[in-house]
Symmetry: C2
Subunit: 106 residues, 2 copies
């Protein structure tokens, strides 16, 4: 108990966020749907779901990883679970207008 657990998950720095990776991450309908659930506010991972909720948790974890490694979402420990949030400010600075254009798309 000398230390509290550090966040083991790596997030790219704002200046490392790569357009191709962002577009790829968002090009999957299931991942985009996950992101849309974070549009208005951060959400505990346990409260957001893939389209098909019967998929195993390792699959959901993989999709969250793709989004995180692309720099689209933040994933930090919270209580016994995880808090997911959109990296909105960073994305808006890095690629102005992109995120909203995608989220607003019908």
């Amino acid at each position: 108990m000398e230390k509290s657990a550090p966040d083991p998950l790596e997030h790219p720095r704002e200046d490392e966020i790569d357009l191709s990776k962002v577009l790829f991450a968002l090009s999957d309908p299931a991942r985009l749907e996950l992101v849309r659930q974070l549009r208005d506010a951060p959400l505990e991972a346990a409260r957001c779901h893939l389209q098909d909720p019967s998929l195993p948790k390792s699959t959901k974890s993989h999709q969250m990883k793709v989004l995180r490694e692309a720099g689209v979402i933040r994933n930090e420990p919270k209580g016994r679970g995880r808090l997911l949030s959109l990296r909105r400010e960073e994305l808006n600075r890095r690629f102005p207008g992109l995120l909203d254009a995608i989220l607003d798309a019908s």
Copy 2:
């Protein structure tokens, strides 16, 4: 010579253009670079190039196909070659702001 050759290549209608396919098509750096070359004006296919110009023409043709089938570019016969153009108006109507946000991204 009763008919001129019809365009054999299929293009999705504007209302069929799918966001995920567009994002996927543009998520490849080589394809995005191709698209950037069409930003200001249509171009004959022979005058635009992949990053690595030593790649065989079947590879370039494949990348053009992915972009065309996603609805990002138009590919029509012209003379003995092909004229490529961005489907800018359709994309702007379908997904306002998206194309410019991507093309403007550093």
